[in-house]
Each structure stands twice: as structure tokens, then as C-alpha cells.
């Protein structure tokens, strides 16, 4: 499969009065054409920032991409001029955000919000764009498109708005859709509808999908490959199978052990990860997970473990990645 997006050593930081927040710290990963990649991790670990960095949507001040490269179809997005990056945004890479309630402009009609992108990027006329918009709405399961285009977001329920957001993302037939927690704010049944819809559409149109989530279930159901993030770094990478069945990083192991599972026996006691996620302004020159890690030893404090292969495309950023196998079974 051809590489669509290659992120290398990406570093994004926020310069705040409380210090420098190293939100994304030396992150490297790829997305291949047509595949679905998931980015998981706890709140505040840098998932959204890494996604926003791709389209250079980090607000300055206080945030800034301080290093690395983001190659998309061979071009380094970080080197593009402002007009050039705008041609990528929404056109070749589209985003779907977490909050369907607030991601649409409340005072503009759905129609206008849908058509302006097409007019802008594809040079469509108003009529063409509207025709296409109706078609898009039908595709995401909203009937009666003509009437709907005249309406405002508050006429739509949360699930419907998220469908509109998906239609918006699809409108210019992008190569990649980044969905940042697209369903977290929605009800369980609606969540499933939306995710299914995204997955189906991306398959059908051959669009690569990057799903950002902290729901391990969602990842298991929809993702081909998974990147696990902790404290601004990718700590483990692999196929969904690998991550769930033979995790090679203590954090992944911890995560899996701490979620209650419906398919397993109720009697199991959860094994939480003790402690708190670290403060991203106070990262030291060691593994950030070490205070919470059962396997931590001296070396973890001395150097940051690099993300390295553990075989078969799986990668882990742990000094003891090869020793972990048995404990997993014990833990679950």
C-alpha cells in the first residue's frame, strides 16, 4: 500500500505562562492510502494537537510546531505557503471534529456551510454545489436535502449534525479524513450509526481514515492499525490484532486491563493504572510513563525509550518490550 501521510519527528509545543507544554513530542507515524488508523490515548496526551498539526491549525499564540516534517503525497505540509496549505485543507485532507453541537456555525445555513468549500476548492457554481450538497446529504442518510440546506444547525439533532460534518468532509473527495473523537458526545446507538457510516463511506470511496479516540472498543471495531499515545509520544504502534492480543508496552497493557469488558466475566476485578498522567510542562529525560509503570527500572529514568520494532510491523517504545508477553496474560 502506498504511503499517503508520513509524519516524522513532529514536535508541537504551547508556550504558556506556566511553561512550555510539550503536547506532541517527537511523533512519527504513517497513514497508508485507504486504510483506517486509530490514535488512542488518555485525555490530554496530545491526540488532537497532533491531528491539528497536520493541517497547521495550531493557534499561534500560544502553540507552534517546532520541528519535524509532515509529508503528504510527497509534499512537506510544513513547508507550504499559506495559500498552498489552504488548498490542502478541506480539499485533500478533511477533518471531522468532536463536538457536532459547536462545530457548525449557528448563524449560517447548512447549505452555505456545505457549498462554500466546494465553490472554493472545486470552483463549482452555486447550483452545482447545491446539487452536490443534496447528494452528499443523501449519502450520509439525510433525506429531503433541498429543504435541509435552507435550515440552520439548531434545526438538526446531534447525530444529524455529525452527519452533516461527514458530508462536509467528503464534499471535496479528500484523500484523508481525520476524525477527532467524532462520536464521543453522542449517544451509544448514534455513535455506532455514525462510525459505521464513516467506515462504509471511506471504504467505498477509498478514503483513508484517521480516527482519534480514547474508546478502546471503537478502535477494536473499526481500526486497521493503531497508534497508542502517552504524554505526547507514540508509545506503541501495530495492527489492531497485535495491540489487543500482544501489547508490547506497559501502558497499553495497563489500559486494556483497566477497562471493564462486556464480553468477559463480571467477576473480574479491574486493574487500574495507578497515579495520574504527567504534566506535559514537566517532562524529564526519561520515560514519561515510568512513575506509573510496574516494570520500570533504573534505565527508564535515564533515557527516553525509542519507538522500535518488536517484529511484524509492531513497534513499542519500552526498554523491556520483549519481556512483557507473559504478564499480559496474567493481568487480563
Amino acid at each position: 500500500m502506498a504511503k499517503l501521510l508520513e509524519i516524522e519527528n513532529l514536535r508541537t509545543q504551547f508556550f504558556t505562562a506556566d511553561g512550555v507544554v510539550r503536547a506532541v513530542d517527537d511523533v512519527t507515524y504513517d497513514v497508508n492510502e485507504g486504510e483506517t488508523v486509530a490514535l488512542v490515548g488518555e485525555s490530554g496526551c496530545g491526540k488532537s494537537v497532533s491531528a491539528l498539526s497536520i493541517l497547521r491549525l495550531i493557534p499561534w499564540p500560544p502553540g507552534r510546531i517546532v520541528g519535524g516534517s509532515i509529508r503528504f503525497l510527497g509534499k512537506d505540509l510544513l513547508q507550504l505557503s499559506d495559500p498552498e496549505i489552504r488548498r490542502v485543507r478541506g480539499h485533500q485532507i478533511a477533518m471531522v471534529f468532536q463536538e457536532p453541537m459547536t462545530s457548525l456555525n449557528p448563524v449560517l445555513t447548512i447549505g452555505l456551510q456545505l457549498t462554500e468549500t466546494m465553490q472554493y476548492h472545486l470552483g463549482m457554481s452555486n447550483e452545482q454545489a447545491e446539487k452536490r450538497a443534496v447528494e452528499l446529504l443523501r449519502m450520509v442518510g439525510i433525506a429531503d436535502g433541498e429543504r435541509r440546506l435552507q435550515q440552520y444547525p439548531h434545526h438538526f439533532s446531534g447525530g444529524m449534525r455529525q452527519r452533516v460534518m461527514i458530508a462536509l468532509a467528503l464534499s471535496c473527495e479528500p484523500k484523508l479524513i481525520i476524525a477527532d473523537e467524532p462520536t464521543t458526545a453522542l449517544d451509544v446507538t448514534i455513535q455506532a450509526q455514525i462510525l459505521q457510516l464513516m467506515k462504509d463511506l471511506s471504504n467505498r470511496m477509498g478514503v483513508a481514515l484517521m480516527i482519534i479516540t480514547h474508546n478502546l472498543g471503537v478502535v477494536a471495531r473499526y481500526a486497521d492499525r493503531v497508534n497508542v499515545m502517552y504524554a505526547g509520544k507514540i508509545v506503541e504502534e501495530g495492527t489492531a490484532e497485535q495491540i489487543y492480543h500482544s501489547p508490547k508496552h506497559p501502558y497499553t497493557i495497563g489500559l486494556l486491563a483497566s477497562v471493564p469488558r462486556m464480553d468477559q466475566h463480571r467477576g473480574r476485578r479491574l486493574v487500574p493504572i495507578e497515579g495520574q498522567p504527567p504534566d506535559l510542562t514537566k517532562l524529564d529525560n526519561g520515560c514519561a510513563y515510568r512513575p506509573r509503570c510496574r516494570w520500570a527500572f533504573d534505565r527508564c529514568a535515564q533515557a527516553i525509550p525509542p519507538l522500535e520494532h518488536v517484529g511484524d510491523g509492531q513497534m513499542s517504545a519500552c526498554f523491556r518490550k520483549h519481556e512483557l508477553g507473559d504478564d499480559v496474560k496474567a493481568a487480563s
Binding site: A17, D18, E274, G275, Q276, P278, K282, P291
Partner: protein, 298 residues
């Protein structure tokens, strides 16, 4: 059965307790305008408190020999038509402005706090009636109110304070009421109710302290407004009366009549008003940024 195994590691949270000096410095860096405002406010307060130490002139005594002198070594801001040193009167004017401003702001904001919280908490007919009264007071022209107060109670600083306070109360009551209404819906108030606390306790312990932010914001903006209002009223002849050194009063009469030949008479008191209000507004703005959760990023 064992109690929970691990006690959370709290070392990094302890770092939240930062020394006051560092916090202050951070505030200055985050809110440079606010710090500038605080600086002006402090200078003004010092001038007011130590007026008699700073200047040796008497603010009310006439000096026949030196009327309407332009600024020079002995009179940095010149003198007015009674030969009174303008700098001295500006400094003493700070006293008048501050005492009136602070008192009126405090009374207005506190009155509004009481009314607003009570109105929000009790609701119903009480709320309805207070809201109607608030409507009337807010729509009512200040100058009539001031005139009536000054004319019936007689002029003088304390009546100016009353005149200025009255319009503040409804303004603050509005703001506090809406915050209090919001706070009534917040879970910790529910928690307090679930714990079986009395109404009085819920209001005083759980609601009032949490409307302190709008209260303090109103308070700090009111000081500036009160200084401005005092100046306007005095200028219109409805405020403090001669020979009390008051900035608005200093802009009346001679200041305007001899504008071209003795501009210093009107320039300096006007600057004093502007700077004072400017300072308090900067300070109030910074206060709003710090206290208003909407503006706070976290």
C-alpha cells in the same frame, strides 16, 4: 476487606503551591495592562493618603499674589484663579475621588449582591417585584436622581455617594442575580441540599462566596465609574461643592472661561480624572480576565 491499595502519588500536585511572589510576577506578565492599572491605583491611593505630606500648599486657601500662574517651579501645574496650587488640589482631589469612589462602589456592589442573590434564591413574586424595581431604576436618568438626592439631603460628599450608589445597585443586582441563578443549578448546590443544609447556609456558604467573582468585577469597575460620575455631577453643580478639592469641580467655571489663556487649569484635573478611571478600568479588566471563568483557559 482492605481499604484501597495505593494512595495516589501527589508529588507533582504539590508543585501547584507556588510562592506568592512568583504568582504576582506571572500575573504581571500575563496582565501587563492590569499591572499598569494597579500601579496607577496604588499611586493614586498613596497620593490620597499622604496628601498633606506630599504637598505643603493648602488646597483651599487663596493666594492673592499668585493667581492663574502658568506651571513653573513653585507650582508644577500652575494655579487657578484663586491662586490655589493645582497640583495640590489634584492630589487632595484624589482623596475626594477615592473616598467617594470606593464608598459608592462598595455600597452599590454590596447592595446589588444582597438584592441579586436574594432575588435569585427566593424567586417567585419577590424576584418579580425586585426585577421591576430594578428595571425602573436602571431606566431612570441619573441626573434626576442625583439632583433629587442632593437637593433634598443637601449637597456634600455623603449625598453624592448616595446619588451615585443608587444606580449601581440595580446594575450589580442584575449581574449577580444571573450568576446566582446559574449557581443554583450547579451540582455542589444540589449536593448541599442533599446533605440537608438549611436555606440560609446554602445561600451564605455556598452561593454568596461563588458570586464573588462578578461582585469583585462589578466592584472594581464601579470605582472608576463612580469617580467619573462624581466628576460629572460636580461639573454640573450637583456634586461636591466648593471649596472642596474635587476634580470635576476644578473643571467648572474658570477652567472653561479661561480655557485659552490658562489651559492648565482644565488640563490637569481632567488628566487626573482620566488617569484614575483609566487605572481602575485597567485593573477591573484584568480582574475580569482573571476571575471570569469564560475567559480563563483551562
Amino acid at each position: 476487606m482492605a481499604t484501597p491499595q495505593a494512595v495516589i502519588d501527589t508529588s507533582e500536585l504539590d508543585q501547584l503551591r507556588i510562592p506568592l511572589r512568583t504568582q504576582l510576577w506571572r500575573l504581571v506578565r500575563k496582565q501587563p495592562l492590569g499591572a499598569a492599572g494597579a500601579f496607577i491605583v496604588i499611586i493614586m491611593s498613596l497620593a490620597a493618603i499622604f496628601a498633606n505630606v506630599i504637598t505643603s500648599y493648602n488646597p483651599v486657601a487663596n493666594d492673592l499674589a499668585s493667581m492663574l500662574q502658568s506651571p513653573e517651579a513653585n507650582h508644577w501645574m500652575g494655579t487657578d484663579e484663586f491662586g490655589r496650587d493645582i497640583l495640590t488640589r489634584v492630589i487632595y482631589g484624589a482623596r475626594t475621588a477615592l473616598s467617594i469612589g470606593l464608598t459608592a462602589a462598595f455600597l452599590g456592589a454590596t447592595g446589588g449582591l444582597v438584592l441579586g442573590v436574594a432575588s435569585a434564591y427566593f424567586g417567585g413574586i419577590f424576584d418579580l417585584i425586585t426585577q421591576r424595581i430594578v428595571d425602573v431604576l436602571m431606566a431612570f436618568p441619573l441626573i434626576i436622581m442625583a439632583l433629587a438626592v442632593v437637593a433634598t439631603l443637601g449637597p456634600g460628599a455623603q449625598n453624592v455617594i448616595i446619588a451615585i450608589t443608587i444606580p449601581f445597585i440595580p446594575t450589580c443586582a442584575r449581574v449577580v442575580r444571573s450568576s446566582a441563578l446559574a449557581i443554583r443549578e450547579i451540582p455542589y448546590v444540589d449536593a448541599a441540599r442533599a446533605l440537608g443544609f438549611s436555606h440560609a447556609r446554602i445561600i451564605l456558604r455556598h452561593m454568596v462566596p461563588n458570586v464573588m467573582a462578578p461582585y469583585l468585577i462589578m466592584l472594581s469597575t464601579f470605582v472608576g465609574q463612580a469617580i467619573l460620575l462624581e466628576a460629572v455631577l460636580s461639573y454640573l453643580g450637583m456634586g461636591v461643592q466648593d471649596p472642596t478639592p474635587a476634580w470635576g469641580l476644578m473643571l467648572k467655571g474658570g477652567a472653561e472661561e479661561f480655557l485659552e489663556s490658562a489651559p492648565w487649569v482644565s488640563i490637569f484635573p481632567g488628566l487626573a480624572i482620566s488617569f484614575a478611571v483609566f487605572g481602575f478600568n485597567l485593573f477591573g479588566d484584568a480582574m475580569r480576565d482573571v476571575l471570569d471563568p469564560k475567559m480563563r483557559r483551562d
